[in-house]
């Protein structure tokens, strides 16, 4: 589904990703862990198509095609969804109105009929019920004045409505209470299917208790330095990244070293 080869990215002239290799197949959930500032969000932003990230080397293939030449909205219409680490507040733009406009833009792209406001409301009610989200967030402006946790819930709500093919969750678990954490996990697990893939960026094992990943990747200093099964996350939680940096990688089995 997604294949990244030798990706080098600079931001504001500074090299952030330095030869990153990564791939994920349909039906899988992968976790990416790694120290602060290692480039995890940068990777997500490059996949989503944010400006200001200069790819100096390497390639990103999505469904076998060059992803990097597509506009962000085309990527979204092709099924890519990023739950942002810091969702943006958009004063004055109604949350529900915005989401319907987004869904209809995607449906139009796929040649499907657009949903009128009644049909959309029905869909929203269904999703809200499943996700146990309070519907007063719907009547407000996009993320405006939302608490940290409410913003994350709103991202998951958008994901549930848009039903992406490839979802990237950038620290969606940070700042969430225990119930909300379960809710995020539920949102992800419900979307899990043979034709979808999900990348979960996280610092904590907690989330991975609920979403058991098929693979865990460790990103440090712009590269994937280790990969393994779900148990790698446990090991990291135990030992910390400092251990990793101070030769821990060497102590990992050869099959874990990237």
């Amino acid at each position: 589904m997604l294949e990244i080869k030798n990706l080098h990215v600079t931001v504001g002239g500074k090299a952030i990703l330095k030869g990153l290799d990564f791939s994920i197949e349909a039906g899988q959930v992968h976790a990416i862990m790694g120290p602060n500032g290692s480039g995890k969000s940068t990777l997500g932003n490059v996949i989503a198509g944010r400006e200001g990230y200069e790819v100096t080397q390497g390639e990103v293939l999505y469904k076998g095609k060059n992803l990097l030449e597509l506009a962000p909205e085309v990527r979204a219409c092709e099924g890519i969804f990023m739950a942002f680490q810091y969702p943006v507040e958009i004063p004055g733009v109604n949350n529900t109105y915005f989401l319907r406009a987004a869904l209809n833009a995607q449906r139009k792209y796929r040649g499907e009929p657009e949903l009128d406001s009644m049909e959309f409301l029905k869909l929203v009610r269904e999703k809200l019920k499943i996700l146990h989200i309070n519907d007063d967030l719907l009547h407000r402006a996009v993320n405006e004045g939302f608490s940290g946790g409410e913003k994350k819930r709103n991202e998951i709500f958008q994901m549930a409505v848009l039903e992406p093919v490839l979802a990237i969750l950038d620290e969606t678990d940070s700042g969430l209470d225990i119930d909300a954490l379960r809710l995020v996990a539920e949102g992800v697990n419900r979307l899990r299917s043979d034709d979808r893939a999900m990348i979960v960026i996280t610092h904590y094992q907690r989330l991975l208790d609920h979403i058991v990943p098929d693979k865990v990747h460790v990103l440090a200093d712009g590269k994937i330095v280790a990969r393994g099964g779900a148990e790698l996350a446990l090991k990291l939680e135990e030992q910390g990244y400092t251990w990793l940096e101070q030769g821990g990688i060497q102590s990992l089995g050869a099959e874990l070293r990237a």
């Binding site: 989503a48 400006e51 909205e73 943006v88 958009i90 406009a101 833009a105 996009v142 958008q158």
Partner: protein
């Protein structure tokens, strides 16, 4: 002096003088002399620094005279030669009305009253200027003589006074609710580019109410100029809700000057929307002549191409315990230019006054320009004053966020601009009207598909 001012001067000198009361004939001559001596506003006139006369000079309009037509102003329900059988002649020059079924509808076509329709409300009088001068001479005289016509900065009020013979007088007896009134202005440019002059009097007695909606919109876009002077008198506790929509073509010039005199406890609620025009200026000046009065000036302008819109608001807190607010939102694309100048003067003794002022602007293009200037002068005690002016661009992070959900870039920008303007439309009490104006704002937005 500019060639245009000279041309106007010659035209005024050779025109047949209008016949009216002696004081008015003399005033017309004085105004004519002023204009001839000083010419058009210049860059050195502080109040005109950012609003050059280029567009007007390029249009090069001749002064339009409408001698005599004044006398044909109609009784309610009647129509002119433009109309038929008591119904509005469906003249395509007037596009769709902003308000359905107003209590009164009055149309001014190329600077001439072409009739009115309205309900029979006792205490509401709608007259032409000629009729008004017969009925309310001393009252109108007081207003007409109060207009400053001196120097180049007052060229347009001088021109309006020099040619004064077309006008509308609305008089509301005390304690009467006059309902809604739609005043529609259209220009044709049929007889070549002309400048039409018109005068409006809104005389609201004690405890009265009126919702006035002015619509400046012509279906014909061949280019003309309109120069309007409006006198508003609000008796104590009177309320005037005054909405003005201007959606003219790029070769239209509109100059408006509105003076509001507010008695104790009165409320003046203005909302101005400029979505078009080539060169447009609104001067609004209110004076609080009694305590407890309030004035709100809301405004939004959405401009593309080379349009120029200037709003000059001035509030004179001459009495204590009054409040005023100015709230403007500007969106500028293309090579357009906006000017916002908001003055508030709190005179000595006007204690416990409250002044709020906010001007926020979005520049959508590197060539667009806004000059925004708040001027607060406070000489009284216990005054609450707040003001803020911002100039910014569309939030790139928000645009990316929306695009990442599938919205096209143009659509994302439209949503942001619409949201920005909603800060003004949300404050209109009439929801249906707010909805219509939002639609017009949507249509007025610069095209985002090409870089402009």
């Amino acid at each position: 002096m500019s060639a245009l001012a000279q041309q106007w001067g010659e035209s005024l000198r050779s025109a047949t003088p209008a016949q009216g009361p002696r004081w008015l004939d003399e005033l017309r001559l004085r105004a004519s002399d002023q204009l001839t001596a000083h010419g058009l506003p210049q860059r050195k006139d502080e109040d005109w620094k950012y609003t050059p006369m280029r567009v007007l000079e390029k249009l090069n309009p001749a002064i339009a005279y409408h001698p005599g037509s004044e006398n044909h102003f109609l009784e309610k329900g009647q129509t002119t030669e433009r109309g038929l059988n008591g119904k509005w002649f469906s003249d395509p020059i007037f596009p769709a009305a902003l308000l359905d079924k107003p209590d009164y509808e009055i149309r001014v076509y190329d600077g001439v009253l072409v009739g009115h329709e309205g309900s029979d409300r006792p205490g509401v009088t709608v007259l032409s200027l000629t009729e008004g001068l017969q009925r309310y001479e001393s009252l109108l005289r007081k207003h007409i003589e109060s207009v400053d016509i001196s120097g180049s900065a007052q060229a347009f009020t001088a021109l309006n006074t020099a040619t004064l013979n077309q006008g509308l007088v609305i008089h509301i007896d005390q304690q009467v609710d006059a309902g809604t009134m739609l005043l529609r202005w259209a220009l044709s440019g049929k007889a070549g580019p002309s400048i039409h002059n018109f005068r409006v009097f809104l005389l609201l007695g004690e405890g009265t109410r009126l919702q006035l909606i002015e619509q400046f919109e012509s279906a014909d876009h061949s280019g003309s100029a309109l120069n309007v002077v409006v006198h508003v008198e609000l008796g104590s506790n009177a309320v005037l809700d005054h909405l003005r929509l201007q959606n003219e073509s790029e070769n239209t010039v509109l100059m408006s000057s509105t003076r509001i005199d507010q008695a104790q406890g009165s409320r003046y609620l203005y909302a101005g929307f400029d979505l078009g025009g080539g060169l447009v200026r609104h001067e609004l000046k209110t004076v609080f002549g009694g305590s407890g009065a309030h004035a709100t000036f809301l405004g939004a302008f959405v401009l593309d191409n080379a349009r120029h819109v200037d709003n000059h608001i001035s509030v004179d807190h001459a009495s204590p315990g009054c409040s005023s607010e100015q709230f403007f939102r500007g969106v500028l694309g293309g090579r357009s230019r906006g000017v916002f100048n908001g003055k508030a003067l709190i005179r000595p003794g006007a204690d416990e006054s409250s002044v709020r002022q906010s001007s926020a602007n979005l520049l959508l293009s590197p060539l667009a320009q806004i000059d925004t200037k708040p001027e607060l002068e406070i000489y009284a005690d216990e005054v609450e004053a707040r003001h803020g002016a911002t100039v910014g661009q569309l939030d790139e992070a928000a645009i990316f966020y929306m695009r990442s959900r599938g919205l096209g870039e143009a659509e994302a920008k439209r949503l942001l601009v619409a949201a920005f303007c909603r800060a003004v439309t949300d404050r209109l009490e009439n929801q249906a009207l707010a909805g219509r104006i939002s639609q017009l704002i949507d249509q007025a937005m610069p095209s985002f598909t090409q870089e402009n």
